[in-house]
Structure formats: structure tokens, C-alpha cells
Symmetry: C2
Subunit: 342 residues, 2 copies
DNA sequence: TTGAAAGCGCTAACAG
DNA sequence: CTGTTAGCGCTTTCAA
């Protein structure tokens, strides 16, 4: 594996000159420049990024810490980060936490050890998260999808409260009064905020909020299945269920189907995340479509700009989601009479 | 950010001693060891992997080059690689090629520049792929899902020919005689091998093989849609379609649905890859389920073992897939009479 | 059992 | 416009 010295020797110049032409620094005579390029070509020289990183005390790697790459929500986010990272000559180190704070901690330590230029992460909790540690070491961090409340950092989220509010208000307008909620826990931004929208919609419509209808736990498929079953087992079960993310929706969908309940005749279903399957099943599911690729893109741009200018102002970006009205909701009929105006 | 020297100073020992205890090398007095640990703790010292990498001339990073993380097939493969990498104290750099040889080349160069310890990749072509370059530089490579034919390297694949053969034979047994194929091109292992199984099934059943029924192009959803439409536009259209991977299946499924054709009454559908949606739609799709997680796991184990022992024998692992018989296939009725014995 | 010193490949003053 | 030199943080002989 050729080194910069090999190139220098072959080109008959010094290491610094090679370095200069390869980094487009200062003035180098045209002919010298060409000699260097020739040598680089001839040797198939690839600069060692690790040597460079050591010298300049920062790599060209962005750390990306997410909950689980197998969660489709993160998939396009990851792709977006990778796209802009590569366009800017950076690589990404990917790691999963499975919502486990300890694993998150280890991953953060890993990123520090690798001296990454910056980190993009979906914190597993709003407080006590290792974001602070990174910040203290002057490693730029941007939180995506979720925020942390106990320190200031760049953040990219979607407007969870508003979308959730809109979605639930829509159900209420259609006459639903008992709306079950299957959500992530409130120590995760998305769980807390989507619950907030849910509550707000009830409040503004003057509707009694039965807390038995609110179920929260880890946003995983199996959990969604269990929580939905609890809802369905209620003496006075909900006429509609709101699933807080795509995994929870999957579990909920399964629970409903296994009981032979028909959507939307027997029960309505709405959820967050416009995943493939939601438009492939019948009926198609009404969902909040989050701009996941866009979120990843913004996050990557943010972290890159902070890498280049560490003292710019803290930026919080909130992206708009879209409601996709499909076929999994039907007005709730009470006393053989349609209630609502939609 | 503390360095090894800071730790040494605080512990009152030399750099080398710190290095020794942190790497569990040779004998270090118990008391010294503890002093070092204390200092590490107190300073929150995280060894610089980049300095270490430079010194030992190899990082603890595994490069993972795939076609597209948004293709669900790769998602669990990536997760598996990450799981075993992390369990072995390695990180992964992820990059996508979109089946673009040029982007693949750039990604390989990147991995070289990062001096990764090894690379796991799904080559975009069976020949002329940059695997050789890596091998020449003594960087271990394992090919996964697809192989390269012009150089020797560790490989993990599933038994594509056999699975495809089995699947098509099943259709033939049920009376299907005109089976459309929507596949990846033959310069990709999976395209070539699945076509081979398709042909073999026809051959062994003595069935005429109409090449108009075979469509091959990039394994992308949009392409699957287009190819399926071409099949459906035929004067004598197929009674069943075989989609070569999950993306092609999605496009095919869409094309069929858009024409108002019913599966399996009007046309049968089978595909590779047991994706979520294939069991959520109705009818559920009959598929070949590949052990994707297992493939990633094996690949990661292979690359790690080669990193540790570069002169072990070349290993080719073929994993078994499973046929999942579901509801998207129905015997083909000819002249109002059921043909076949199933 | 420990320390001193060299050096991995690169960049960045500084000098010329 | 180009070369010399020092040093980033670590590991590894070699000596003690």
C-alpha cells in the first residue's frame, strides 16, 4: 500500500508538495502538479484517512446512532444521511441501540474512540442521554426524530403534536368518542408529543378522556400487539385505535385481524408512518406520513455545517408531516345514526 | 480529550504501561494496573482508535457495501453484520451503490482510504468488480448474496438455483405452462441463478420455454412494474409470474392490481424474499424465504476470522432457503378441467 | 515489571 | 513555489 512518501519519491518532490496538490492548497507549479498526479496514478495511491485524521484531529466520519435499522422508519433516514455524507466526502458509521440506554452509551463511546467528526442520533430518552458527553468533547451532535431536554443541541423533528392532533380530531369529527392509543412511552419525544396531540384533540372537543384507553410502552411490534389486545379486551372497547408508529401499527393490525374484526366496519385504525404495507393491505390505512428522508437530509446537512463552523447558532428544524386519508376509518354510528359531518 | 499521556501522568507511570494494561498485554503489577484504571476513570479517557489504527496499520472497522439499504432484503443483513461486528468490538461503515459500478468503485476506494480491516459486499457484477483491488491490498473481502467469478474470495449465498427450481416446479405441477419471469440481469448472481432454476424446471418437465416470458433488468420496483406490464401485454400472457426479488415483486404486484386482475384467480404470483407485506396483503404471497439475517451473520463471522487469520482457506457458504406456500397460487385450469395433482 | 524512544502516514508551520 | 521539520496518539521493540 503506497504512502505519500512513495508518491513523493516517484514524482521527485517532497511529501508536503504531494500533500499540497492532493488537498488543492496554495500554489503549486502546473508541471509539478502533473508529476504528482502521474505518480499517484501509477502507484494507485490512496491517502490514508487514518493518518490524516490523527494529524488534523478529526476524521471524515459521521456517527449515526439509531434505534434499529430494521425499523423502516429509520431506513430512509439512514439512506438520506448516507447520501449527503457521501456527497460531502464523509463516510458513516452506523450503530443500533434497540432503545437500550446502555447500548446507546457504548455506541457513543465508540464514536468518541473513532474520533468521528460529528454524530447524528435518535436519543433513547429525553434526559440523561449521552449527548452531553459528546458536546463536552466538542463533537457536534444533531438529534433527529426525538429531542433531548436537558441540553441544547441541533435538532430535526417532525411536528408530532400537530399531526397527532389533526389525526385524532378527524376521528372525533367522525363521531368516535372512545379512541384507543398505542404509543411509545412519554420519556421518548415521539411518545410524549403524540400523546399530547391526542389529549389536546379530546380537550378542544370537550370529550372525556378515559386514561384506560391510553397504552404506552416500547415501540416494538410485539408490544403493539400486546397493547392493542389489552385495548380490545376492555369491557367498553375503543371504536378506533391510534397507533403511534409503524411497528406499533403492525402489532395492532395483527391483533385486530386475529380477532376477526373488520377494519373499518368493526373498528377504525390510524397510525403514524406511511410504510409500504399500509397502502398494500386492504383497506389501505390512514396514516400520518412523515418526511423521513428529508429529516435525515436536514440532519446530515446540519451536522456538516456545524463541523465546519462550530459556533453557529443552535438550530431546531421542524418538518411538516402529511395526513394521508385512506380507507381504514369510517364514521362511528351511534343509535343507527351517523354522527359527524364527514 | 484526554490522551494516553494524560493517563500516564496522572497514574504516575509511562505511556507504555498504560497501553499494556489497556490491552491486557504481558505482566503488569496489580497495584500499577489499578492506578491506571483509576486514572482512566477519572479522566474519562477513551483511547483514540485512529492513533491505534495508524500504528498497527489496521482499523477496527468493517466496510459494508450494499446495493441499497432501503431494499428490505439488505436491512436485516446489515443488522446482522452490525450485531456480530459490535460483539467483536468492531464498527461498520455503511455505503450504498445503487447497482452503479462507478459508485461501487468509489465506495471501495473509500474503504481503502479508511484502511478498514475487512469488507463485506454485494458485488454489482460478477466480473470486473473491485474485489480484486481489495484482495491485492490484502484487505479481506467476503461477498454476500452474490458472488464474483473472476477471483477467489470468501462468499455467502443462498441456494438460488435450487429454490427457484423448486418454486417453478411447483407451478408446473399445478398445471401452469406459461410462467413469466421478472428477474435481475444475468450479470448479477441472483439474476443468473434464479433464471437457471427456472430453466431447469422447464427442462426437467419437458416444457417448452418461451423466452418472451423472461424479462430481466435492474432489480428495482419501478422496473418490476414495467417488466410485469410487458408480460401482461403479451398476446398470450402468462398464467403465473415469478418475481425474482422483493422489489420486483412489489412492482409486479402493483402492475397486476392496477389492471384489476385478481390473484390467484386470474394470475398466480410467486416471488423471492419473505417481506412483511407479502404476508399482510390478501391473498398472502407464496415466497422463497431467504435466511437474510443468517447470511449477514455468517459473512461477518467469516470476515472477522479472516482478519485474524489471513491465510485460512477460502470458504464458500451456501445457506438453505425455505419455500413458504401461501395463497397466491392456484392450479391452472385448462378446458374447464384442473390439471396437476396438488 | 516498567520506561525510553522510535515511528505509523500525514499536515502545517516555517524557511528558503 | 517547494522542502525541512515537528508532531498528532498510539504500540512496540529494546533496555533496564
Amino acid at each position: 500500500l503506497a504512502t505519500i512518501g512513495d508518491v513523493a519519491d516517484l514524482a521527485g518532490v517532497s511529501n508536503s508538495t504531494v500533500s499540497r496538490v492532493l488537498n488543492n492548497k496554495e500554489y503549486v507549479k502546473e508541471s509539478t502538479r502533473n508529476k504528482v498526479y502521474d505518480a499517484v496514478e501509477k502507484l494507485g495511491y490512496k491517502p490514508s484517512r487514518v493518518a490524516r485524521s490523527l494529524r488534523v484531529n478529526s476524521s471524515q466520519i459521521i456517527g449515526l446512532i439509531i434505534s434499529d435499522i430494521q425499523n423502516p422508519f429509520f431506513t430512509s433516514l439512514v439512506r438520506a444521511v448516507e447520501d449527503v455524507a457521501y456527497a460531502n466526502n464523509h463516510a458513516i458509521i452506523l450503530s443500533n441501540t434497540d432503545e437500550d440506554p446502555q447500548r446507546e452509551q457504548l455506541n457513543v463511546d465508540l464514536m468518541i474512540s473513532e474520533r468521528v467528526a460529528g454524530v447524528i442520533m435518535t436519543p433513547s430518552s429525553e434526559i440523561n442521554c449521552p449527548v452531553q458527553k459528546l458536546l463536552k468533547l466538542d463533537i457536534p451532535v444533531v438529534c433527529v426524530d426525538r429531542q433531548v431536554t436537558d441540553c441544547e443541541t441541533d435538532t430535526v423533528v417532525s411536528n408530532n403534536v400537530a399531526s397527532s392532533f389533526e389525526l385524532i380530531s378527524y376521528l372525533i369529527e367522525l363521531g368516535h368518542r372512545r379512541i384507543g392509543a398505542v404509543l411509545a412511552p412519554s420519556n421518548i419525544t415521539t411518545g410524549r408529543e403524540r400523546l399530547e396531540g391526542y389529549k389536546k384533540a379530546h380537550h378542544e372537543s370537550g370529550i372525556y378522556l378515559d386514561t384506560n384507553l391510553i397504552k404506552q410502552d416500547d415501540p416494538k411490534r410485539r408490544i403493539g400487539y400486546d397493547l392493542a389486545n389489552k385495548l380490545l379486551d376492555l369491557k367498553d372497547p375503543p371504536t378506533a385505535i391510534f397507533a403511534g408508529n409503524n411497528l406499533l401499527a403492525l402489532g395492532t393490525f395483527q391483533a385486530i385481524n386475529e380477532r376477526g374484526l373488520k377494519i373499518p366496519e368493526d373498528i377504525s385504525l390510524v397510525s403514524f408512518d406511511n410504510r409500504e404495507w399500509t397502502q398494500l393491505v386492504s383497506p389501505k390505512i390512514t396514516v400520518v406520513s412523515q418526511p423521513t428522508y428529508e429529516m435525515g437530509k436536514k440532519a446530515a446537512e446540519l451536522v456538516l455545517s456545524r463541523i465546519n463552523n462550530s459556533d453557529s447558532e443552535i438550530t431546531k428544524i421542524t418538518l411538516e408531516s402529511k395526513l394521508l386519508f385512506r380507507d381504514s376509518v369510517k364514521p362511528f354510528v351511534r343509535n343507527k345514526e351517523v354522527v359527524g359531518n364527514n
